[in-house]
Amino acid sequence: MSKVNLSDSLKKVQEIIRWFDTEQEIDVEKGLEKIKEGTLFIKQSRARLKEIENEFETVKKELEEE
């Protein structure tokens, strides 16, 4: 799985939503671009948030002490 920075992705989507909320005159072209961008971030976030089994690795004490 490619490395997704969940925190950054969610922040970017929030920024896009804020852009839509605050923009007085929406530039449709720019809006479409933002939607595309936001959809990609949502997709990435959703992929990262899929239920993925945790990986457990136990430190071998003897190896650590060498």
Partner: protein
């Protein structure tokens, strides 16, 4: 086999209060595991294992190897050999009938004593704290029996117990005779306070000390990563804590690196410190350091109130999250952590908290973002409609304006044309009138000139002269009376035709 040997080595080192390599380095243990020596000769062939070490640990090691070998199969055969080896070892130990030197005897005693690691409780009756070693005596309150003890500085500091006369303590160690004095002492590796009252007192004292240093201050606390992914976990392999923690983590794709340690007893202090240091040496590999343990009494949680361990947590480079259950007082390790919760389950929930929130947020984004865009598009559509209507009304306005202007211009143009025609006529009339007037004035002037000429002709002196008159001048002056001349003057006479000079000869007065 290697794992068993290492466990034995670690336990022995802990009892003696020394570093593990001082008992046996890993290479020796590896050789023991590889060659599985069955007697003293085979064991002494191993590099790094000399006579003195054999005297101290040989018997026990042979026993362990034998035990493990028998577990791994070939049990009957191994037992047979064991009998022989036991016989050999007893004779190797050399405490039979032969005469021994004092040193040999004491070495033999120490070998025997090294296998008598014990846990002893007593009251501290004297303390002699030196730079590297702390000597103290333990007294049995029932019969005044006394035990000399010593502990090296490092395990003493790690134990977190300040020896004070009168304190009831428990020590773990190995008895040993110091050969130059023949005095028996307990070489202590671990000291614990005994009794809840003493523990409570020590807890309060350390809490105040750490608080005074500002180790609990909120401004020291670091914010844990919102989405931690790589978790460094320290807890026991046994017990419910690891199960509760794992079960409640949910499937978030965490990468948990688990360092199993004891979580109770003095052994726990060493092991947890070791684990914290291990993770901090590779701090770039982890997002958060998590230590969990189920609930317990003050006594069972002593490790987490140990000063050295608490400071290790406080100075961890990795952000720390502690979930240590407790009955009354929160452990000091939890108080210095960046974040503390009360149970292993709560720890897991804390780690997954933002993931759960993020899922909800993503769901919200999924529906809200297209909706928001659709709303914005509707707004844009409305805006376009409004603007189009406005534009059309402008177009209509300009069209009307243009029509009006066009008509107006046309009218004005015709008006101008008619004015032009009028002016042209007027000019033509003016030109004719001017022409006529000019001719009239010319004619009139001509007539006036003729008339004036006629009049001038009437006044012309030549006309008089032609009638027979003449003009007399003296010089340039016309002579009008006789007073103006005298006899003898020469005067000039102008006739109608020609001139002549005359001399005045006589003057006749009237």
């Amino acid at each position: 086999m290697l794992r068993i040997l290492k466990q034995w080595r670690d336990e022995q080192a802990r009892r003696e209060g020394v570093e593990t390599f001082r008992v046996f380095p890993n290479a020796v243990l590896q050789s023991l595991a590889d060659t599985l020596p069955k007697n003293k000769e085979e064991m002494l062939r191993i590099k790094g294992l000399k006579e003195a070490k054999f005297r101290k640990y040989g018997k026990e090691l042979l026993h362990i190897i034998r035990e493990q070998s028998s577990h791994q199969g070939d049990q009957e055969k191994s037992k047979e050999k064991t009998k022989e080896e036991n016989i050999n070892e007893v004779s190797d130990a050399g405490v039979s009938d032969q005469t021994l030197s004092v040193s040999q005897f004491l070495d033999g005693l120490n070998t025997e004593l090294s296998g008598m690691a014990s846990r002893v409780q007593g009251e501290v009756s004297s303390v002699d704290e030196r730079e590297r070693v702390i000597y103290f005596t333990l007294k049995d309150s029932r019969d005044e029996s006394t035990l000399n003890c010593l502990i090296f500085r490092f395990p003493y500091d790690v134990s977190g117990v300040k020896l004070t006369i009168g304190d009831e303590i428990i020590v773990e160690g190995v008895p040993d005779i110091y050969k130059p004095s023949g005095r028996l002492s307990m070489k202590v590796g671990v000291i614990e306070l005994s009794g809840v009252g003493a523990l409570q007192k020590a807890y309060e004292a350390l809490r105040l000390k750490l608080e005074g240093e500002g180790l609990f201050a909120p401004e020291r606390k670091r914010v844990l990563p919102t989405f931690p992914e790589r978790i460094a976990l320290i807890t026991s392999e046994q017990g419910a804590a690891i199960g509760d923690f794992s079960m409640n983590l949910g499937a978030q794709g965490f990468k948990v690196t688990f360092f199993p340690t004891s979580v109770e007893g003095k052994k726990a202090v060493f092991e947890i410190i070791n684990a914290i240091r291990y993770f901090n040496r590779q701090k770039d590999k982890y997002d958060v350091l998590v230590i969990v343990r189920g609930g317990g009494s003050l006594e069972s949680l002593q490790a987490f109130n140990n000063e050295t361990l608490v400071r290790e947590v406080a100075h961890s480079s990795l952000p720390t999250l502690l979930g240590i259950g407790h009955e009354r007082d929160v452990t000091l390790a939890a108080l210095v952590a960046d974040k503390m919760v009360s149970t292993p389950t709560a720890t897991a929930k804390e780690l997954r908290l933002h993931f759960d929130e993020a899922r909800q947020l993503v769901k919200y984004f999924e529906t809200h973002l297209p909706l928001l865009f659709s709303q914005q598009l509707t707004l844009v559509q409305r805006h376009i409609d409004e603007e189009s209507t406005k534009l059309l009304s402008f177009v209509e306005y300009f069209r009307t304006l243009f029509t009006t202007l066009h008509r107006d211009l046309r009218e004005r143009f015709f008006l101008l044309l008619s004015i032009k025609e009028q002016k042209k006529e007027f000019l033509n009339y003016g030109r004719d009138a001017l022409s006529k007037g000019f001719l009239f004035i010319l004619k009139q002037s001509k007539e006036t000139l003729v008339f004036q000429n006629d009049r001038l002709m009437q006044y012309d002196p030549l006309r008089v002269l032609r009638s027979g008159y003449s003009l007399i001048r003296q010089g340039t002056r016309i002579v009008k009376t006789t007073d103006e001349i005298k006899i003898g003057d020469v005067v000039s006479l102008q006739l109608s035709r020609g001139k002549m000079n005359a001399t005045v000869e006589e003057i006749f007065e009237e």
